[in-house]
Structure formats: C-alpha cells, structure tokens
C-alpha cells in the first residue's frame, strides 16, 4: 500500500487550479471531466511523480461548515514543505497572498499559514534536512 493522493476541498475547481499552479507553483497532472466537476490533480514540479494533490469540490453539506470552523480558528488542515519559509512568504505576499500567520520559528521548524482563496488555510513549513 502506498500513499499517492491527498486532497484539498475547494469551493471552485477553476479558481483552485489557478491558485495552486499560477501562485503556489504546482503543475497540473490529470484533468478528467466528470459531469459537473473534474478529477483534477496537481503535483510539485520538484516531484512530478510524487504525491498528487486532488482539488476536490467541497459540495458535501458538511464540508463548508467544517472548513469555515477551521479557518475561524486559524487552523491549516494541509501543509506543504518549502526550502525557506521566509523567502516563500515574501514571494507569495508579492503575488497578493494573504497570510494569517507570519513565519514562526519553533526550534528547527519554521512555519507560516496562508489562505488558498478556496476556503482553506495552508501551512508552509521548512524542516532541516535529516
């Protein structure tokens, strides 16, 4: 058994695709029309054969209240690894990305939290190489 997919629940797949590619810098991996929605995944250009992120519609009635409650408390449900949180934060801010937590160093790990414009908070983290 292997982990090859993970998901974020997005309020609009097209908007999400733009944010996750144009802004965050991922690339589209698969796009399959499925009626009203699409099977839509992105990957990191640093790991094109790595874990795919599914941009999943948040249509289920429980999904949006769940997301809203997490956002209200500032909780990022999804996290990505970056080389340098400070540099990445500056780069994304220049692109207009809203951060709810500025870079915060906690021992060897530095984190920041941003809004993906699709109803989620995302944590970016840098961890020292093992």
């Amino acid at each position: 058994m292997r982990i090859t997919l993970t998901s974020v629940l997005v309020d609009d797949q097209e908007k999400a695709l733009r944010f996750y590619t144009d802004v965050l810098g991922f690339v589209k991996k698969t796009e399959v029309p499925l009626g009203e929605h699409r099977w839509l995944t992105v990957v990191s250009p640093e790991a094109p054969d790595g874990v795919e992120l599914v941009l999943e519609p948040d249509e289920h009635p429980a999904a949006r209240p769940f997301k809203a409650a997490l956002v209200a408390d500032g909780i990022p449900y999804t996290a990505f690894t970056v080389a340098d949180v400070h540099a990445e934060t500056e780069r994304l801010k220049a692109l207009g990305v809203r951060f709810t937590q500025e870079p915060l160093a906690m021992g060897p790990v530095t984190t920041a939290v941003l809004d993906d414009t699709c109803g989620n908070l995302i944590q970016i983290a840098s961890v020292p190489a093992a």
Binding site: A68, A72, D73, G74, I75, T100, Q101, L104, M106, V113
Partner: protein, 111 residues
Amino acid sequence: MGWTGKCTLAYRSGVGDVFKALADPTRRALLDELQERDGQTLFELCTRLIHRGVGSSRQAVSQHLDVLEQAGLVRRRREGRYTFHSLDTSPLRAITRRWRIDPEEDSCGSP
C-alpha cells in the same frame, strides 16, 4: 443606585477580573506571546504554547482567552473569516493607579 455606585461596581468588577485573569500561568504565557507578536490566530497561540511547554487543548486555550477578553486584556478582532487576538494592557493602569509605583525605583524584572 446612583451613578457613582454603578461606577464603583464597574471599577471593582473590572479590576477583579484582571486579577483573576493574571492569576493563571497559562494566561500569563498567552499575554507574553501576544506581546511578542500582536494579532494572532487561536492556532498560532496554541502552537506557541506547545513550544513553550505549557500547551493545553485548543478548547482550554480558547477558554483562557475568554477570561482574558472579559478582563479587557485581550481583544478579539473578526476580519472576514479569520479571528485575530490582540493584547490590551490598558486595564493594568487601574492597578498602578490604585497602588502607585515609585518612579525612582527600578523595576526588578518579571517574576
């Protein structure tokens, strides 16, 4: 009850709440963290407390923030879908007004 009476009651309950709020080490740690960086989400405050080694559950931290807010020491600010917490030290003025601090005397740090 006249205007003065109401004022006294408000003053008393206000100061009483500040003392109660400051009487807990986790709540003092929350004020320290907010002094270091103003305008934090509940998530960031919880993360910082864990790093300090005084982490509690999110619910417990939220309740501590309620007590601090009732004492006027913390302000919650809704901004769109987010909520940020800020430090407000103005209620502490009532304490030094009541027991004045000698301006000649140097402070001895924070116990």
